[in-house]
């Protein structure tokens, strides 16, 4: 029971991470295409300003919970995906620093360096997270000793790349919607029209990815065994539809919220399909790392899981509470007076 709860919490943490950091990664990728001058660039940086650091901690928490609740899976995942994770790490490092350093020196060359870091540092995480998770969905070549075979290039298979494209699109759309909230004037119009143009592409890619998932993975097994679970699909599909509706009505907060719900829904749909595997083995299902006894049990002891559940039940609601307050405090569009970055 504890293992199942933790499996779901593990999925929720990743889902919230994608839904929050997704928009600032998306804005980082959109910046060179949407900003026409230095002021607009700064608006984009400052639209993420008060939030990006707090958002990124959801990744640390998701990684930490993988370590705490499923140490065998953490060990196999992080060592097996070594090079991909190092690239993700370097990207997040230069991105984080670019926020803080860019505006400190008034020179075009200096700013160009950090602009480049911001774009690469936003694109690579989106792509790599998509590639990594798609590969987890289809199973990784894990042997009976939890050692993964193959390197970075093996991850770049067609389904893995499809996952990368999906994540990049999800985050681009999410970022365009956030910028529609936080920018004013021309920049807002460009952001909103970008979101509107991305929508049919995103909808098509989601449908194609779902169909591809049917053939490339075993994610639908749980759903076929228990068709009521298909109701989960209402969440991402409903979110996707409502993005379009609310975007047309220029209700940007609602559209962004729908996008966040969609990202969470997509993630949970996949996580429920994965259960009980955290890392399915493509070599032999018995070698999959699982939350329960179905494969190689990757969970921590009941005592650790119980203590960690107590910690999560106390602190995660508190975190959500104060992060909600921060979003509310800084909800208005960025103006000239607000520029700190």
């Amino acid at each position: 029971m504890l293992e199942t709860i933790w499996f779901l919490l593990w999925g929720v943490l990743w889902a919230v991470y994608f839904a929050l950091d997704g928009f600032d990664l998306g804005m980082g990728m959109l910046k060179p295409f949407l900003a026409r001058d230095e002021y607009e660039k700064r608006v984009i940086y400052n639209a993420a300003g008060p939030f990006w650091d707090g958002n990124e901690v959801w990744l640390i928490a998701a990684g930490g919970v993988t370590f705490a609740a499923f140490p065998l899976a953490y060990a196999a995942m992080f060592s097996g995906l070594y090079t991909a994770l190092m690239l993700l790490l370097f990207a997040l490092i230069v991105r984080g620093v670019s926020f803080e350093f860019r505006s400190k020196v008034d020179s075009p060359g200096w700013k160009a360096i950090w602009d480049g870091c911001q774009v690469v540092g936003s694109f690579l995480p989106a792509l790599l997270l998509g590639v990594a998770f798609a590969n987890i969905f289809q199973g990784l070549p894990l042997d009976q000793n939890q050692v993964m075979h193959g390197g970075l290039l093996d991850l770049l298979n067609p389904y893995g790349l499809a996952g990368g494209v999906l994540f990049v699109l999800l985050f681009l759309s999410h970022g365009a919607l956030w910028l529609s909230i936080k920018a004013e004037g021309d920049l807002r119009e460009r952001a909103a029209s970008t979101a509107a143009k991305l929508w049919p592409v995103l909808a098509a890619v989601i449908v194609v990815f779902l169909a591809y998932t049917w053939f490339a993975t075993k994610l639908f097994t749980n759903y076929m065994a228990n068709p009521a679970l298909f109701l989960i699909l209402i969440v991402p599909v409903g979110g996707l539809v409502m993005i379009r509706v609310w975007l047309a009505a220029r209700r940007f907060w609602a559209a962004w919220g729908a996008s966040a719900v969609m990202i969470i829904g997509v993630t949970l749909f996949a996580v429920v399909g994965l259960f009980p595997a955290i890392l399915p083995s493509s070599l032999n299902p018995a070698w999959s790392l699982t939350a329960t006894d179905a494969g190689i049990k990757a969970s921590s002891s009941p005592l650790t899981l119980a203590i960690m559940l107590g910690v999560a039940l106390v602190f995660v609601p508190i975190v959500i509470g104060y992060q909600f307050w921060v979003y509310k405090t800084f909800s208005s569009p960025v103006t000239r007076e607000d520029l700190e970055y």
Partner: protein, 433 residues
């Protein structure tokens, strides 16, 4: 080269670089929060300007600490997966608690601190500063409880082929961890004190912004004095704990080879990996007294430890000497600064010296962690798991690539940060950027 040596080098590089920034974050965040509270209480504009000037330097430092911290959490999985699998039940949960209970708070409110000057009242802003400072120091508690488990594992049982938690409170209340926490935090306040002291002196030597930097210098001198005295006193008790729990580390710190009562310390000593190259001018019983507060105490020597269970002696010995040496100089400098704080302008040579004292506590902390971590070898978890059994089953080439990338990337980022901090210092308070 093999994955294990490269992974160790990578861990050392990533951790030592991360720990350039963390101590200043821990100490300076508290000083800035104090300045904001002083502004709220007195309404004096000076304190607000102080919080903003030191805050600007704080932020440049803070972001480098945050982004390099992610590397550390990842590295246990990427490079030390066997360790992660073996002790993750305990160690992983401590890192997860750190993220949920402390790091979230710190990272969320640093954004509010930066962007909230106009949106929040001075009182609310000061509260945010205290939240950032408190959360940072709370982070340190959990990280050092995790490290404490590696130094002095408690509260576990070996079951299912791994170390499993059986007493959470024993892990959390690990006395060794709390000694390390106290030593690290006091060291961090030395860093913050000497940082403020040195930069203030740099400006005072140039007679710029004298009111501002005289006031800052007094804060720096006070903090540096109290912290450098406390870190030395507490360090003695921390040393007693090391002697009791890790006698082999103690022997390596002193390059002490013969097990004996009334163990002496040598004023002139050159250590080697198989015995001292030179030992002269012994002070009788001094080592027994320092380690156990008893001249008759028996101090274990490295000759009684199999060579395979000994840490690298030369590195541990000299790192300990460096730490203690710096720990001795710091209170003297801080004391002089404190005594002369009201007429420091009469001592221009001292104002010129103080900026050069800024690196001292940094070097002391780095040396201290070399003692703690190198001195723990060959164990990754003292007495429970060897470092050589902990490394991931990965190719050396991958690690070579990431190590090279980390060194290049960190050097560039460090240089950029140093450049920015230097610029901000020279511009002084009230600069636009």
């Amino acid at each position: 080269m093999d994955a294990i040596l490269l992974s160790r080098l990578q861990f050392a590089a990533a951790t030592m670089f991360h720990f350039i920034f963390v101590p200043l974050t821990l100490g300076l965040s508290v000083l800035i929060a104090g300045m904001e509270t002083a502004y709220v209480r007195t309404g004096k504009e000076l304190y607000l300007r102080m919080a903003k000037f030191w805050g600007k330097l704080f932020l440049i430092n803070f972001v480098l600490g945050v982004v390099t911290g992610i590397t550390l959490e990842f590295q246990f999985g990427t490079n030390w997966s066997r360790y992660s699998a073996y002790v993750g039940d305990i160690f992983g949960s401590l890192l997860a608690i750190e993220a949920t209970a402390a790091f979230f708070l710190e990272s969320t409110f640093i954004g509010v601190w930066v962007f909230g000057w106009k949106k929040l009242s001075p009182k609310a802003h000061a509260t945010v500063a205290w939240l950032v400072a408190g959360a940072g120091n709370l982070s340190a508690v959990w990280i050092l409880i995790a490290n404490g488990f590696m130094q002095n594992p408690l509260g576990y049982v070996i079951r299912n082929g791994r170390a499993e938690l059986n007493d959470f409170m024993a892990v959390v209340l690990n006395p060794f961890a709390w000694q390390q926490f106290a030593h690290t935090i006091l060291g961090a306040f030395c860093v913050a004190g000497f940082f403020v002291l040195g930069i203030s002196a740099w400006h005072l030597a140039r007679k710029s912004h004298e009111e501002f930097f005289n006031a800052s210098l007094r804060i720096g001198a006070g903090v540096a004095l109290v912290a450098s005295i406390l870190v030395a006193v507490q360090g003695h008790f921390h040393g007693n704990e090391v002697a009791r729990i890790q006698p082999v580390k103690l022997a390596a710190m002193e390059s002490h080879w013969e097990t004996r009562a009334n163990a002496p310390m040598y004023l002139l000593q050159i250590p080697g990996e198989n015995g001292n190259v030179l030992e002269a001018l012994p002070v009788p019983s001094l080592l027994s007294i320092l380690a156990y507060n008893d001249p008759d105490a028996v101090v274990k020597g490295l000759n009684d430890v199999p060579a395979a269970d000994r840490p690298p002696v030369v590195i541990t010995f000299w790192a300990f000497r460096a730490m203690v040496g710096i720990g001795t100089i710091m209170p003297l400098i801080a004391l002089f600064a404190w005594i002369k704080r009201r007429d420091i302008a009469k001592h221009p040579w001292f104002l010129k010296l103080l900026p050069w004292a800024i690196p001292l506590p940094y070097l002391g902390l780095q040396a201290g962690w070399v003692v703690a971590e190198v001195g723990r070898q060959p164990w990754i978890v003292h007495g429970l798991m060897r470092t050589s059994d902990a490394v991931s089953p990965i190719a050396g080439g991958q690690v070579g690539f990431s190590l090279a990338a980390i060194i290049v990337l960190y050097t560039l980022l460090g240089a950029a940060g140093f450049f920015l901090a230097g610029r901000a210092v020279k511009q002084g308070p009230d600069a636009a950027h």
